[in-house]
Amino acid sequence: MTGKGSATPATYSPSPTSRKGKPPAYKDGDLNWARPDGRGFQQCRPAYFRTGAVNAASGSAYVEIGNTKVIVSVFGPRESKKAMKYSDIGRLNCNVSYTSFSTPVRGQQLDHKEYSSMLHKALEGAIILESFPKTTVDVFALVLESGGSDLPIVISCASLALADAGIMMYDLVASVSVYSLGVNLVIDPISEEESYQDGSLLISYMPSRKEVTQLTVTGEWSTDKINEAMNICLDACGKLGEIMRMCLKEAASVSSEVNLGRPGGRLKGLQGA
């Protein structure tokens, strides 16, 4: 058959050259500049959450915030790998991967290998590991489209999926990041804004218990700025937590109407296409 064994020829994408060299929309010291999508500095993008996206998983969630779309599936608790030692608390295994069309240029492998371990650290404080000894809970995330602020969205989506799977947790984990651009603090950045950041702050927060499970700071921050940024973040996390809770309540009320006993089949709420 023709084409067997021949390497795929080198290709290039005909998109106009990337905006790497494009100067940021603001100038130093500028206090009032417009964000590319017209939001206020302290305004987050509207969020759309849905649980039960994947039938094959124990629990799953789909989140769409602006242009970032993420699906997270939770499998478990299931048998740990035979190689693992006995452990009387449960184990958490996380993995974050990107589709090849998540970025405008195909196959542009973003260096996000650390996202899997960061997701792990954000969630392990919230899960009651003692409730599933000897077993593992697998949390797998797939980023369908990357529109900025990927990791906080993955973390929030993952905690929603864990709730959908019925894994015991102390509280939901809501996560938001704040970037410092020039003199301003910008919440929930899009990918364009992320590329010219001066510093970033990511907080994963349990709203009802008022506890932070993860705090990641990069770049240069003065003490006042950090305090301000943290307050902004915690406030936003609280609001995000409310939205997530509402989503879970809706899902629970829908399924209790439809689930009238289960003959051989699985009627798990009506999910549209």
Binding site: M1, T2, K4, G5
Partner: protein, 243 residues
Amino acid sequence: MEIDRTDGRSPNQLRPLACSRGILHRSHGSASWSQGDTRVIAAVYGPKAGTKKNENPERACLEVIWKPKTGQSGKEEKEYETILKRTLQSICILTINPNTTTSIIIQVVHDDGSLLPCAVNAACVALVDAGIPLKHLAVSICCCLATCGHVILDPTKLEEEKMKAFAYLVFPNSINSILPEGSSHTKSKQLEDGLVTSVTHGGMSVEDYFHCLDRGRAATARLSDFLRKNLQSQVLGEGSKAG
């Protein structure tokens, strides 16, 4: 209308077949099968203890490794491995040696068309050589469809590439029953009528496909005879191979 084939064969004529068993000394069973210039060597190791992770331990497990002539194993090789594994699973009696793994390694020596059928035939003979219990043998043939609608058997690589469509077909071998005619008629009829595997490339109409099936099934009688003769003569020639 007669088709002119470059090597002068008639449409129903197969290339010269050659088959030898026991060519590799270290393996438990081995065979080399060639149809014209296409040559494939199959080696069987097994049954070995233990099954692979996701397989059912109440049955024997088969594992196929396909080695191309040059280059690394890619998607095409993985596809061949899957097809071969499922085909051989249907002819092996898997309940006899539960919780074991039998490995079949296919090495392509030369590819001149009709590669998968050659490999299926070689694997079948290698399994017999290794003494793995089989329900029946599998004989495999490649049928091509020319643009004028004629069916050609056992194409070379050039013919395969020129043709509109071709199909790799695997049938159970024809039965030489020692029982009188009429007894156990239905079961043998079912076996004769059956199709184990079919993989097609290129579009063809449904009637053409059934023509291919008929021609292929007719050719299996010749292939089965060749196989039987070959296996019998070698058995007479050697003593028992214990172990």
